[in-house]
């Protein structure tokens, strides 16, 4: 796919590494709403492909402002390392809250990709923290 030139490649034609597809879940974490396929170069997430649940092509997006420069591109781990995502979510949690495993989903629209982390406070109340790269917020 990279070699074909159909998708913008990070450094030069045919370059970059196509990462393992990650399912994008529906907001309740149950169903599959699509697929996220990262394109990496030098440890950075240069861009990604997004497919619909039926594998129809939805979009090909790039974090690169001025290809081939990777300046400003997030680290791959920012978007794909669950432990880092969990660490980020902890920065928004309050004392006593427990966090669930993160899952990739979206906030309102499938183009607004986020990792959702379920939160339970000591009284048993549940809420969600969203992590989008280095941006963390409460749902």
């Amino acid at each position: 796919m990279l070699a074909s030139g159909l998708v913008q490649t990070p450094l030069a034609r045919g370059s970059g590494e196509v990462l393992e597809p990650v399912p994008i879940h529906t907001s309740d974490g149950g169903g599959i709403a699509g697929w996220f396929i990262g394109i990496a170069a030098a440890g950075r997430l240069a861009g990604f492909l997004q497919l619909a649940a039926d594998l129809a092509f939805r979009r090909s997006s790039s974090f690169q402002r001025r290809p081939p420069s990777l300046e400003g591109c997030p680290e791959v781990a920012d978007w794909l390392d669950r432990s880092r995502i969990l660490d980020r979510a902890r920065t928004r949690a309050t004392a006593g809250e427990s966090l669930a495993e993160p899952f990739l989903t979206y906030d309102q629209n499938p183009d607004r990709l986020v990792w959702a982390v379920g939160v339970t406070d000591p009284q048993g109340r549940e809420s969600t923290i969203y992590v989008a790269g280095d941006f963390v917020y409460r749902a």
């Binding site: 070699a3 074909s4 159909l6 913008q8 399912p23 149950g30 169903g31 599959i32 861009g47 619909a52 039926d54 129809a56 092509f57 939805r58 979009r59 090909s60 997006s61 790039s62 974090f63 690169q64 402002r65 400003g72 997030p74 906030d107 309102q108 629209n109 183009d111 607004r112 990709l113 986020v114 969203y130 989008a132 790269g133 280095d134 941006f135 917020y137």
Partner: protein, 387 residues
Amino acid sequence: MDYRKIAGAELNLLRFLGVLPETFEGLRVAAAGTPVYDLNGEELFRRIPLGRQRQETPAFVDIAVHPALGGPLVAVSQGIVWDEKALLEAAQLAARKRKVKPYDTMRFVAYSVPKVAVQFLANGQEVLMLELLTWIPVPPPRRERLKDEPPANFERWSFLEETPRATLRRRAKSFEERVAQWETVLSQRDIRLDVISAERFAIFVGPIEPIQFFESRELHYSKRNSDHVPCYELRGQETNVWCVGASVQMVLDFYRYEYTQVRLAQELGLGTLANPNGLPYSQDGLVVTVLENMSSQALDAAMNTSPNFNEFRTEILANRPLISFIPGHSRTVAGYTRQNIVLLGMTPFRGLLVYDPWPPNAGVITRWENFDTQTYRRTFTARVTLV
């Protein structure tokens, strides 16, 4: 359906369009191919080797037999020689090492499309299934998965049994249309398509040349493509609900009205960085007001409640960016592409170049967004009225 002929036609078209590289030039669609079955026993596709005379070539094409695959061309692969006889011999050897029970039939099975295995059967019942080339046994079916739960990495699943019925019907319709188109085109002229040749295919499509396969345009400083490079900048939204603010900022920046997002948020009633809020549905029209006010009425803005592709194209051709609202989000559009392969009546790809302010403080440039998979709710245009 003549699979070999359809395979040749599809491959020649791809080569002609430049999708297939030069290494495919002169390759021959060798034989009728190897049937590959679904787990339910129905034939799914034919795997047809590609080669040159007296020369083994590591390439093959998968041509659909079952309409549910959606189109005749399933995949073109390079890097592996498809030698059915040698593979079956290797599979038999691997099976013997695993002390396989007696069997009477061997066949290729897509145990997890597009992954293929060799299945050994005795009286129609499977006695062993080995994954192609690794020759590792494919595990037996596990218990039923939950609704929408995807198969695991090394798990068998039936493409025909597990794909939703509506999807199968839609794909079958698309397949039948494509095959009918090819049959019409190929019946009109006599051409040898078993050898891939861009030059020969160009002669085949000659009478309707020149044909423009793609029409694309991005924002420039002027309408002269040769003079300038694209000139549009991405702004990430500064809070999780300021996509409209970032979108307005991108359009105003294009016209050299440089405001901070905080200031624009104030104008749009989006709160502050510490206490932000989104634009309510009922306030969509405020975008028009802010674009005009923040340019001291130099921009004449408008809102369209029924966006269509032609509007995007017209605005970009006029060198004007648009703000595009989709459900729950706002972005800007700075280019389009349109595939004009009218030759075979194929559905053309329509794409937009989207400057998307999500994720916050970063944003992404989407090249391309499939226009036909998105829901467009509003567009906002702005044109210069004073110079």
